[in-house]
Amino acid sequence: MLARSQYYLLAALAASFVASLFSGSFNSYFLDVAVTCGINITLAVSLNLINGYTGQFSLGHAGFMAIGAYSASLLTTNFGGKLLPLVGGQTWIFFPLALYAGGVVASVAGLLVGVPTLRLRGDYLAIVTLGFGEIIRVLLQNVDAVGGARGLIGIPDYTTLFWTFGLAAITVYTVWALVNSTYGRGFIAVSNDEIAAEAMGINTTRYKITAFVVGAFFAGLAGGIYAHFKQYIAPQGFGFDKSIEIVVMVILGGMGNNVGVIIAAILLTVLTETLRQFGDYRMILYSLLIIVLMIARPQGLFTWTGWKRKSA
């Protein structure tokens, strides 16, 4: 017997699989936008666990993404020749394993970043995570073994619609299921009032670190998907502006509102594509969006009801 939510997950996985079978009939531009949407949904929903539900303002999500992207790519690109035969040359086994490894490395980084959150709150935490993201970027830029500033090339083309949207579905399910339980309400309690949460017997430290580890894990997976889609990654692709882009999706969608965040991720991805002709000026649009939003709808564009829904 599966829970109803798990049937939804299976349905989403099946839909991704079917869509993947027909991917040959879509034009490549559409595929490109669709995969980017899927990756951004994964990134935004995983960040929503940290920033939205748990209320820990992280500005380093692109850093976790980078770690996952590089780890998975190194496995498939540099060691693919040795590792692939071990799984019988089956890329559909090899790829998720490489992705998973990338996610694990990213979640270890999440643990390391999560530990300072024991002491830091609000803006201080934002600065630390921002610093973390930059450190990752600068490190990657200066390590020749991973291509330095030139980046990693020749990454195999493993990403399909199935992997992209399968991962997005698993991420959404995981974050939803984590939060929708008596245990999971603790995340929201931490974001609402840490002192009261402690007084209710909630180990706030543990919740915050869990959020960081889980969030980083999925960001790492998304990074792997991204790398095996673009077949080329470079440190500057995982900079501060990428982190901001994900944060904007979360704020636009409404902190702690998964449906809103998914819509925002799709909306911003499509918007970015249509604004591509303006190049870097789209950062101005992002900044404007945040300003207008914070004034007009601080609860997010897609939050109508808040928490006034029946509990699972």
Partner: protein, 258 residues
């Protein structure tokens, strides 16, 4: 058998200020004790010491014979001490139901992994907790608000919800920090009844910090009086009321309270 809660020469200093000095007090297993004193006497500091928000500079705090010193607030709640706050601290964006449900947190067996797998045992437990939550809410007449966000409740109901939430942690000792603050006389009378009811229904001890003399004198079996962090008197309401030191420190300095 030792009393439920013992404070043994507890002192805390913040820099040069001694907020609580050599305080020795106790609360019995099924007792309703009041802690009173003028503004800034250190009453809330005592609560923060008991609940692990502050660590005493010296002295020991024991609960059921075990020292609480050095433990974190959530661990102390896990040892069956629950509290409310002087300025209400609900989880504003969570529903009334979830505010109470999350306080059952200590008593659930499931964790992150079970939340993901959602096997039958998980659902059974969630159902059980939902039932217990509704039972508590209904006892305190909050059931009708179950899906409202806590922040939208009227003030008096928020106070009540905070007490319900504390009870959901299944305490043996309940610390109430000025529950009558901001209430009108009718609400105060109701609160008095409520506190007595809680004590009897849940068979717990209550330590009450309160400014309002009507409330304190009305329900407390024993009262300790703090002034500048020092205990200046202790006894039954009648004894305390007659104590010249108390009159001087408390009633003498402040105009008729209430």
């Amino acid at each position: 058998m030792p009393p439920l809660l013992e404070l043994d020469r507890v002192t805390i200093r913040f820099g040069g200020l001694t907020a609580v000095s050599e305080l020795t007090a106790h609360v019995g297993g099924h007792e309703l004790v009041g802690l009173i004193g003028p503004n800034g006497a250190g009453k809330t500091t005592v609560f923060n010491l008991i609940t692990g928000v502050y660590q005493p500079t010296s002295g020991d705090i024991r609960f059921a014979g075990e020292s609480l010193v050095g433990r974190k607030p959530y661990q102390i709640t896990g040892r069956n001490i629950a509290r409310t706050f002087q300025n209400i601290r609900l989880f504003p964006s969570l529903s009334v139901f979830d505010n109470v449900r999350v306080a059952f947190h200590l008593h659930v067996k499931h964790d992150a992994v079970h939340s993901l797998t959602r096997f039958r045992a998980f659902h059974a437990e969630e159902k059980e907790i939902a039932a217990q939550t509704m039972e508590l809410l209904d006892i305190f007449d909050l059931g009708k608000f179950r899906d409202e966000p806590a922040k939208s409740l009227p003030y008096g109901s928020q106070r009540r919800l905070e007490i319900v939430r504390a009870l959901a942690t299944k305490p043996k000792l309940l610390l109430l920090d000025e529950p009558a603050a901001g209430m009108n006389p009718t609400e105060k009378t109701e609160l008095t009844k409520l506190i007595r009811f809680i004590k009897d229904k849940f068979q717990i001890a209550v330590l009450l910090v309160e400014h309002d003399m009507q409330v304190v004198m009305g329900i407390c079996e024993r009262i300790a009086v703090l002034d500048y962090g020092v205990k200046i008197a202790e006894g039954t309401p009648t004894e305390v009321r007659a104590n010249p030191k108390v009159i001087e420190a408390y009633l003498g300095e402040e105009p008729t309270p209430g």
